[in-house]
Symmetry: C2
Subunit: 295 residues, 2 copies
């Protein structure tokens, strides 16, 4: 049986349920969920590195509070540096059934509803995020559902459009998820997502290389072909993300019956270039946006 400690996220195997975590010693051990069990198996098989995935940092109060201060959290879509690239790639929503995986505060759900979607399902693993979504971005056609996207289940052909904004890099197993998304979509349905760019996730630190005076020298790439978990610091908290190559992102889509419509690495818009640090974002790609259609 696989167990996990809710305090330190240590994943381990025992014949009988232990009282204490063998790593941190706290009494916060429970049986691992199916997702956590798969993570444990993947780690055993050497496909992953680093400690157990903290797959839901957004319910960590310290993280949640800091996330809430970000421009994109306070001001919504238009404050996101990639929105000017993402918005023109969105399909028409009128009358469509939309699924948003990792919907967070629900900004994209609200946008779809405001643009005539017939039904919007927003899912997120974080209860705190969904509470905010319910408060700020509720709507008659919108339903928010708390679940890990790897554990969702829908009848075939349930949706016309599947969206996911900056969430898929928290998912360990990409292929089974894309297979399921392909089935959830009707033929000719759209799957549009943004993720952190493989250049950005490869090394793990997600930080620049600096010279002795603290000036940026360049952005480091390493371990590119070593796919798996990476520990980065985001908003001052340690957070686990999964690095995948560009090959894996695109070939998985092609293999699962998608045709690629757009593959875009968004640059910050001209009017944001004077914001602190924004001009440096011209030096490396940080995000990847992919639009695909189920053939």
């Amino acid at each position: 049986m696989i167990y996990i400690c809710d305090s330190c996220r240590f994943l381990f195997s025992r014949a009988a349920e232990p009282e204490q975590c063998p790593d941190c010693g706290k009494y916060t051990v429970r049986r691992a969920t199916p997702l956590e069990q798969r993570e444990y198996q993947a780690r055993l098989q050497g496909g992953l590195t680093g400690p157990a995935a903290k797959e839901n940092p957004y319910d960590n109060p310290a993280f949640f509070i800091k996330y809430a201060q970000m421009d994109r959290s306070r001001q919504g879509l238009s404050a996101a540096g990639e929105w000017h690239v993402l918005e023109p790639l969105l399909p028409p929503f009128a009358g469509q059934r939309v699924l948003d995986l990792g919907c967070g505060y629900g900004w994209h759900c609200r946008y779809a509803a405001d643009h005539g979607a017939a039904q919007v399902v927003g899912t997120d693993i974080s209860r705190r995020m969904l509470q905010t979504a319910e408060e700020r971005n509720a709507g008659e056609v919108i339903e928010y559902r708390c679940a890990a996207m790897e554990e969702l289940s829908f009848p075939d052909g349930s949706f016309d459009i599947v969206l996911s904004s900056l969430a898929l890099h928290y998912v360990c197993d990409f292929t089974p998820l894309v297979e399921r998304i392909s089935r959830w979509l009707r033929p000719a349905g759209t799957f549009l997502f943004s993720v952190e760019h493989p250049v950005f996730t490869a090394c793990g630190s997600q930080d620049w290389e600096y010279d002795g005076k603290g000036q940026i020298r360049h952005f480091p790439v390493d371990r590119y072909y070593c796919e798996g978990s990476r520990e980065a610091v985001f908003l001052g908290e340690r957070i686990t993300k999964y690095h995948r190559t560009l090959t894996t992102y695109l070939e998985t889509l092609l293999r699962c019956g998608f045709a690629l419509r757009h593959v875009v690495e968004p640059q910050p818009p001209e009017e944001m270039l004077e914001l602190p640090g924004m001009r440096d974002e011209l030096r490396r790609p940080m995000m990847l946006i992919v639009s695909a259609v189920r053939v």
Copy 2:
């Protein structure tokens, strides 16, 4: 009128033909070709950086001799680290009309002919490369033609397959070339190419970042969104290549009427990992292979 110096490759404009190069002083000035003239115009408009493109380093004797020593030059396709990925992506050649842009020694032309191609046109800007191609990889259905690929012209629908191996990063203007390739191909024809990966070309130096002991620390990425020429050292010679983003490669194909079939970043094969430096190639992507079909 635009002139170029054949010694130092200085590109400049004069009302009357000068005797000496205003840069190096040598008497090796001639009128610029249309391609060189376009390069000059592009530089004037600020679209490019660095000195004038040496678009044909392969006719530089020192470079040519060193290139001839490389495993891939001496042993052909099977000695190229990406061949095990490229070969399975090749379309069936039987009865097909094939164009190979930047064919070099003609290894791919010979492969196509050996696999039943009805007609193979191999083009390269370097006379020296084509001499070797004629010596080593001649064939009844193969015709070698010395030309810059930007200056080629064929009737619409002339080819079933267009190949290009590690040559398109020497081309300044990608879009007009892809537009022409799209016209040269019959509908449902295949365009398959490899290029140096945007991660590899972004910075310019194409070298690792080392620590004080000469050990590799990581691979640097910089100036990613600043497309244009880069001066790198390859086989000890300075050489100009053109950096383009992944977005530009893929979106240009999509815009020019291609459907993407494969986008693969090849890793070295297991059996080559013990060759000097090869294991480091797992730390960064060096090449990009794209297979596309004209819709």
